[in-house]
């Protein structure tokens, strides 16, 4: 990894350089005051240090993605996605990309999008909702903007910096502290045992009693990756399948043939979400995928807070 001090006009020049080969998106604050990742024409549109409501996840794992179209008895995947660059990605969202990269490691369509996505990270200016876990290794990025410095993390990043060589002043050592200023409480020790010991329904059902089941927390989460697949016949008469975001708060999420529902209450659904975020599923068991961005806390219309669940587990007795 190389680091350089940059000249004042580095960022607009970087944007111009990227626009030659990529569709460039970045955080833009709309008239409704919501920050979104949107196409960037001018650097001045870029809303620095603003967390977009939906993270870069939407380009890697789109809310509605064509998986195949049938053609003469074969199942044809869609054409490759275009080259895309996302600028101004805070480190929490970069760590989330690292997690998704591993969840979808064997998924060719995800990997195709991933290899066509260039990431320009940025040092986070945390909001009051943030609670980042401590980090000792850098997240994945091609370039990372740290105030007046830029780091390169990949050969693609190196190449860009070569092209922008006249905008670089001098090489610097990379001494960046990857742990965010807004450090949250560490995960309690013995989390697995605490989880098993706190299976008692009262806490979860109390929260479930407040929960509206809207699923906003999962919708804005940069690491939530539940999905459903829907098939239909398109206007041209071909069978198509789309992958769409699903949500573990929706009533039919764990419904099986015969009518049995494995998560019959909102309390059970909230507990399931916390288990996924904090303890992990399957091969990821033991790894928290919560990056501490705080989006779920901000999005919840009834102020349910994942930190409440963490406090409950921390304070609960373990055998």
């Amino acid at each position: 990894m190389d680091g350089f001090v940059v000249k004042a006009d580095f960022l607009p020049r970087l944007l111009q350089q990227l626009q030659e080969n990529y569709q460039v998106v970045g955080p833009v604050r709309g008239e409704d005051d919501v920050c979104r990742l949107q196409p960037l024409d001018e650097w001045s549109e870029h809303q620095e240090f603003s967390l977009p409501r939906i993270s870069v996840k939407k380009y890697l794992f789109p809310p509605n993605e064509l998986l195949y179209t049938t053609k003469n008895g074969t199942f044809e995947p869609p054409p490759p996605p275009e080259q895309m660059a996302v600028v101004g990605v805070p480190s929490c969202d970069l760590y989330a990309v690292d997690f998704l990269d591993r969840v979808f490691a064997d998924d060719p369509l995800y990997q195709r999008r991933r290899s066509n996505l260039l990431l320009v990270g940025i040092t986070c200016h945390p909001s009051e909702d943030c609670f980042c876990p401590p980090r000792d290794t850098p997240p994945p990025f091609d370039l990372f903007l740290d105030e007046e410095r830029v780091f390169s993390g990949t050969p693609r990043g190196d190449e860009l910096l070569q092209q922008l060589g006249d905008r670089l002043i001098g090489e610097v050592e990379i001494d960046h502290d990857w742990t965010c200023e807004a450090q949250g409480p560490p995960l309690p020790e013995n989390l697995e045992r605490r989880w098993a010991a706190n299976e008692t329904k009262s806490f979860w059902e109390e929260i479930g009693g407040r929960c509206l089941g809207c699923g906003a927390c999962s919708a804005v989460c940069p690491t939530c990756h539940c999905f459903d697949m829907q098939d239909r016949i398109d206007a041209a008469g071909n069978a198509v399948r789309h992958r769409i975001w699903d949500n573990c708060f929706f009533p039919n999420f764990a419904l099986v043939a015969g009518g049995h529902d494995f998560h019959p209450t909102r309390g059970a659904r909230f507990r399931f979400r916390c288990e996924h975020k904090l303890l992990g599923f399957g091969v990821f068991r033991g790894e928290s995928s919560c990056v501490g961005c705080g989006r779920c806390r901000a999005a919840c219309p009834v102020q349910i807070d994942i930190l409440e669940a963490l406090d409950h587990l921390r304070e609960g007795a373990i055998p």
Binding site: F75, C226, D231, R243
Partner: protein, 273 residues
Amino acid sequence: MSASLVPIPATLVRILPEDPENRLFELQTTTPFHVGPGQFVELTVPGSGEFPVSTAGETATGFATCIRQSGRVTAAMFQLDEGMIVGLRGPFGNGFDLTRFAGRDVLLIAGGLGIAPLRGLLHALLEERERYGRIVLLYGARQPENILFREEFEELAANGTVELRFSVDFAPQLGEGDGYICSVGLVTELLQGLQLAPDATTAAVCGPPSLYGCVLEQLASTGIDPDRIFATLERRMKCGTGQCCHCVCAGVTICRDGPVFCLTELRSMPGAI
């Protein structure tokens, strides 16, 4: 396993009605596609949808799967004719580990459509029949006409390859030729008088949730090692690759870590059965 969500084409080479509700579909692919016993695939009816289904055994040209018409997509599947194309993804899941059965007596307990994956296991065992001791098949169905693969099983019983006992929930009257129907009642009643050697037996169970609730611990109470009592679980497996989270139970992805689990594992998975 391919984790791709894009299916490959498979031809329905044969469709055999098994009973009024169930049909056996034999599939063939242009490239070799091996599904081990206890594994499952995702079948696509183009334009209608996809559903997970286990293998009911290999065929000369591929594998077979037994499907009950129970929803929108399986209804569309029942509209298809021989020679038509469906989509196929997989194979998924761990399947049965045959080394856990080798050199031992085998007890297979099926309820209803749960016979389909156990037929796949039985076929795999019969490939090398000499590697196993007794093979006992206990199979409970609703009524005599709902007993799937009845002729096939009775033939295997008649020539001494397997020991066979059927039970049915209801039987207006049992007639001549119903000799293998040993009880009217629960399949667990068939366990009585089997004279198993528990420390030499490996068991595999497949059926509705109510079957697991009673039979697994009952087998353990007879002395069979809980590491050698296997069950295969049914969940809403959408992707098959551990990504979509629909089938997760107790933190375990049933589609990828399972669907076959031993009783020791199931005991540490609250809510699994």
